[in-house]
Structure formats: structure tokens, C-alpha cells
């Protein structure tokens, strides 16, 4: 069983094979992301009716909530990769950990800024030190800390392992972000979309959120694969396959 798994994952572990495979998958993820985003945004901005309390400003939900989900999802995958990197010393897992952080930071920043823009007309304030907002800000600091820690080391693999360690420490923040609206009663509204049990949102408003969630996941896959590819070129710049590639693909951006 383990041998079979190793056999199948062997091409993944080899940087040139992974580079080629990722290069084939990435454009598909990106195209599907743009397609689903177009459908989701049409559904959210055009087809969904305005909210009976908030009017049209609620439409920020179609980027705010999927981005918030991504900020947690990316952190979880990054920490899992970090664990694999620390325990089994898998080079590719180190790369995944380090390269996940900027994408996670991007989605966390989007969540905070769009939430702030949404808060002004609905709560009357851009920011409050509520549990949800504060823990999401802490999440951003974890992402930035992981990026900073990685760059603080001269040795890249040492830096990646330190970053992996910090990413595992930060897992404690994830349930706090998730359950904050349940544990503390603050300005931030409660959960309206549920995986288990009925969602307290009309289906005509709900489906574009789910489609946008799919779009952001696809974008994440494309972005991560692109970043891993670039990082592999850097890590392996002395190797023959990168040297050959740099000559053949001269001037190409792919």
C-alpha cells in the first residue's frame, strides 16, 4: 500500500516532473476560475435581489465570505504542508508551506478591507475590536510573520522549517476565527451559510456565494501551482533541467 502510494507520488516528488505537471494543470484552473467567477458575479451582482435590510451593499458578501473562507482554508493546508515538511523533511512540502503564505495573506487582506467597507454603512464604523475582526487580523499577522520568518534566514531550508513551525503554532487561531461569532456576541453578524443544517439565507442569494467559493478555490490552485513552479526554478537553478529550460524558453513568460 505504502509502496504503491510512493510509486504514484514519485513524479510529484521530483522537481522537474512536478514543474511540468503543474504547468499543465495551472492554465485549466485559471480558466475555470475566471469562468466560475463570471457566473458567480453575475448571479451575485445582477440576479440576486437586494437584501431587505441592507439593500445592495450586502452584495459585498460575494467576495467577502469566499475570501474569508479562503483565508482559513489556505492556512489549514499550509499548516498541514508545514507538518509534513517538519516530520518527513519533504522539500516540496516546504515549498508549499512558504508559497501558500502570500496567497493566504492576500485573501485575508481582502477579507479585512471588504469587511471594513461593508461595516461603515451597516454598522456605522469601519472597524471595531470585536472577536471576529481581531482574530482575522491576527490571522493576517500570522501570514506576514511566516513570510518574514522565512526571509530572515540565510539558509532557505532552515527558513522554510522555521516558517512551517510558526504555521503549526498558528493553527490555534483558526477555531477562534471560526467560532468567534458564536462565542462572543459582537457587531459581526452570525453564520448564515452552513454546511450542516439549513442556511439562513435565501437560495437565490446563496448559490452565487458557493460558486464564488469554487472560483476562489480554483484561483488558489492556479496561484499556488504558479508560485511553486517559480520557486522550484530558484531552488534548482544550478540543475541541468533549469539551465536547459532557461535557454529553450527564452523570453517566454509561461
Amino acid at each position: 500500500m505504502i509502496h504503491k502510494a510512493l510509486h504514484w507520488s514519485a513524479p510529484l516528488a521530483s522537481p522537474p516532473s512536478f514543474y511540468r505537471l503543474a504547468g499543465k494543470i495551472r492554465p485549466w484552473c485559471l480558466c475555470l476560475a475566471l469562468l466560475t467567477a463570471a457566473i458567480g458575479l453575475y448571479g451575485g451582482l445582477v440576479m440576486a435581489p437586494p437584501d431587505y435590510q441592507q439593500g445592495d451593499v450586502f452584495r459585498i458578501i460575494y467576495i467577502h465570505v469566499p475570501s474569508a473562507w479562503m483565508s482559513l482554508f489556505i492556512y489549514a493546508t499550509m499548516a498541514v504542508a508545514g507538518l509534513v515538511a517538519l516530520v518527513w523533511h519533504v522539500k516540496l512540502a516546504e515549498v508549499v508551506t512558504v508559497q501558500s503564505a502570500p496567497i493566504g495573506a492576500a485573501f485575508t487582506l481582502i477579507t479585512l478591507v471588504t469587511g471594513s467597507i461593508w461595516g461603515e454603512p451597516t454598522w456605522g464604523t469601519w472597524w471595531t475590536w470585536g472577536a471576529r475582526l481581531t482574530s482575522e487580523l491576527v490571522l493576517l499577522f500570522f501570514y506576514l510573520g511566516i513570510i518574514g520568518l522565512y526571509h530572515a534566514f540565510e539558509d532557505r531550508r532552515q527558513g522554510a522549517r522555521a516558517a512551517a513551525f510558526l504555521s503549526i503554532v498558528g493553527i490555534v487561531n483558526l477555531p477562534i476565527v471560526h467560532y468567534s461569532v458564536k462565542w462572543w456576541n459582537t457587531l459581526h453578524q452570525g453564520t448564515t451559510v452552513r454546511v450542516f443544517g439549513p442556511s439562513t439565507i435565501d437560495p437565490s442569494m446563496l448559490w452565487p456565494i458557493l460558486v464564488m467559493a469554487l472560483a476562489t478555490h480554483l484561483y488558489w490552485a492556479a496561484s499556488l501551482l504558479g508560485r511553486i513552479r517559480t520557486d522550484l526554478l530558484d531552488l534548482e537553478s544550478g540543475k541541468r533541467w533549469v539551465r536547459e529550460l532557461s535557454q529553450v524558453r527564452e523570453g517566454s513568460s509561461r
Partner: protein, 67 residues
Amino acid sequence: MSLQSFFAMGGYAPYVWSAYAVFLLVLVADYIAPIVRRRRLLRDLRARMARQEARKQRRASTGRVSS
């Protein structure tokens, strides 16, 4: 629904569209960053390989054996 009322967003246009602009700009930046890095990496690598090649040829022309 008219195009005008779509852009007006029921009076919330500045909020809705600025939020969507942030979403777009941050993700575009995320998309461009590795492309820029990749281009710089390959350019540096080609320059390094060209220098190595030049050094090799210089050695060959002076007839010195590399130590």
C-alpha cells in the same frame, strides 16, 4: 434592470465597487508577483551561464589549465 441602476447599486456604489476593486487589485498583484520573479530569475540565470561560458573560453584562449 437598467445599466445605470446596476452601477448605482441602490446608492451604495462607492462601497460595493471599491470593495470589488480591492478584491480584483489584490488578486491581480498576487498573480503578477510570481511572474515578475520568474522573469528575473531566468534573466539572472542566463547572465550567469553567459559569464561562465565567457570564462571558459578565456581560459581556453590563454591556454592556461584551470586549477
